[in-house]
């Protein structure tokens, strides 16, 4: 399965819905999307990972890269994920301390720093 990406705006947040597999092959597409959004002035991102089937360290690297970019613009990057197998990867790498992870897009959009 390939990677699917779609974006929508909710208030001042940009929601990126990601589906499929994020790995060494597909992660560059996600990186391009995040870079493009930040360059276009979208500095508050919510990455919805509910439809992600697979995530590896390359994907984590891209998300960390995205976080660095939005923070440079005083923005934010929040994740939406309820899937235990995906959450586990954030836990074993200690990245749960780096990313705010929410149960739903509504919750992520409503959250403030």
């Amino acid at each position: 399965m390939d990677l699917s990406l779609s974006t929508r705006t909710v208030g001042d947040r940009t929601v990126v819905e990601v589906g499929g597999e994020i790995d060494v092959y597909t992660a560059p597409k996600l990186r391009e999307q995040l870079v493009e959004l930040v360059n276009e002035g979208n500095h508050h991102l919510v990455v919805d990972m509910e439809r992600v089937d697979f995530l590896d360290s390359t994907g984590l690297g891209v998300l960390v890269g995205g976080l660095k970019r939005v923070r440079a613009q005083e923005g934010s990057l929040r994740l939406v994920c309820n899937q235990e197998r995906i959450l586990k990867i954030f836990r074993i790498t200690g990245l749960t301390k780096v990313f705010p992870i929410h149960d739903s897009v509504d919750e992520a959009v409503a959250a403030s720093d």
């Binding site: 590896d56 360290s57 690297g61 660095k68 074993i92």
Partner: protein, 136 residues
């Protein structure tokens, strides 16, 4: 003697194939369903690292994956041809991939209890194994 041997050109698009093959052979070997997700991730990380090392050193040779069904264990060895492939320290200029080599190994060590990385002048190997009940 490996149960299944896989060689693939060091390109990112083939890593998924390696994950799928490894999971399929592991399932047949009786590895518990509950650890197949972790096995898939770990073998993907090992292959991703090998592909990255081959690219870094401009190697044209394939990455090797050996899947071996033992009596009580299922083992996977991922071999690369990169000389002395210790984790690379790269500049943090670009924000992709720079930490993922180390992060990949961190993911594997977090997932797999029985895991070792070896490297010599010929190349590197990542060995991992999981308990397997004999499939009847």
């Amino acid at each position: 003697m490996a149960t299944v041997d896989l060689r693939f050109s060091a390109s990112p698009e083939h890593v998924r194939t390696a994950r799928l093959v490894a999971a399929a052979v592991a399932r047949r070997a009786g590895v518990d369903e509950s650890v197949l997700d972790e096995l898939r991730l770990a073998v993907g990380e090992a292959c991703t690292r090998a592909v990255g090392l081959h690219k870094l050193h401009g190697l044209q040779t394939p990455v090797r994956v050996s899947l071996t069904e033992g009596e009580k264990t299922f083992s996977i060895e991922v071999g690369d041809d990169a000389p002395g492939s210790v984790p690379q320290q790269r500049d943090g200029e670009d924000d992709t991939g720079e930490e993922t080599d180390e992060l990949g190994l961190a993911v594997i060590s977090g997932l797999v209890d029985d895991f070792e990385v070896a490297a010599d002048a010929e190349g590197g190997r990542i060995r991992m194994s999981w308990p397997a009940a004999a499939a009847v």
